[in-house]
Subunit: 140 residues, 2 copies
DNA sequence: TATAACGTGTAGTATAAGCTATAATTGTTG
DNA sequence: CAACAATTATAGCTTATACTACACGTTATA
């Protein structure tokens, strides 16, 4: 049953995506905070994510272990080169997903909401299809 | 900053979606196994998901606690009314997402792969937009 | 029918992600 | 410059999801 194997591989891929999902959300948010306010503080990240700050501290620890951010005790959070690159990739992808949803008639708020969940599971091929559609003539 | 609040709410929604995601995958898969082979065995579920069987056993326990499945020791797994309803909703949604991805030019395999991750994060509004697009004239 | 093979369950471990409560540090201000 | 407010860190707990290793039941067959 090769179908079952392929399905198992798909589920596995989704599980892997989940592991990077949080990292992506964090670096994207940290980049956003740095760009807009000059620095990323744990408290701000917590507020924006809607979680308690110790949760953020632990997550930052993991991100640091994985080479995505750098932080010193009682200082603000910085992105490494890798982290910054990931953030930019995510931001671009996020914008494409939102733009695409808007294009097919989803309202701004729903588009932002759905994109937050969808963006982590979009392959390059699908992303390219989204871009194609965005550039195409109006639908309807 | 109402923007920050809305963003926090969006992230919160995604985290909630994650909690139901696994349940959705399980019931959909169990329904599929029952319909195609007559029964759902833990081993088959494990193989299809690509995880070890104790993982499935624990998950089934949670699903049972949540009223989605019924199972007795050393017997196969059954869906409750609630579980069956969820499975059908998921199956329909899955098919719409795949159909939609195919329509915009994503190949079968990638569509299946991406849909597995995307489907859990698609609102009713977005789903409706997908359906509209599927029914529209060919793109390109 | 006894046993081997397979399926299922249990125990124990790890990691991630969340929380509350408490401690430590920093920075601001009286 | 001392004290207080705000931020950051730590400790300890919970749940979910994964794993391996081992024990127990069922089923099929020799």
């Amino acid at each position: 049953m090769p179908d079952a194997d392929r399905q198992a591989a798909n589920f596995q891929r989704v599980r892997e995506a989940h592991q990077t999902e949080l990292a992506e959300d964090y670096v994207e948010l940290i980049a956003d905070l740095i760009d807009s306010t000059g620095e990323a503080r744990a408290t701000d990240v917590a507020r924006r994510l809607g979680v308690a700050h110790p949760t953020v501290v632990k997550a930052i620890g993991r991100l640091q272990r994985d080479g995505l951010v750098e932080s010193l005790p009682y200082r603000s959070i910085f992105l490494t080169e890798t982290g910054r690159a990931m953030a930019e990739r995510c931001k671009r992808r996020h914008e494409i997903v939102v733009g695409f949803l808007r294009k097919i008639g989803v309202d701004e708020e729903t588009a932002e909401r759905d994109a937050e969940g969808i963006e982590h599971h979009v392959s390059e091929m699908t992303l390219a299809a989204f871009e194609r559609l965005i550039r195409s003539k109006p639908l309807g």
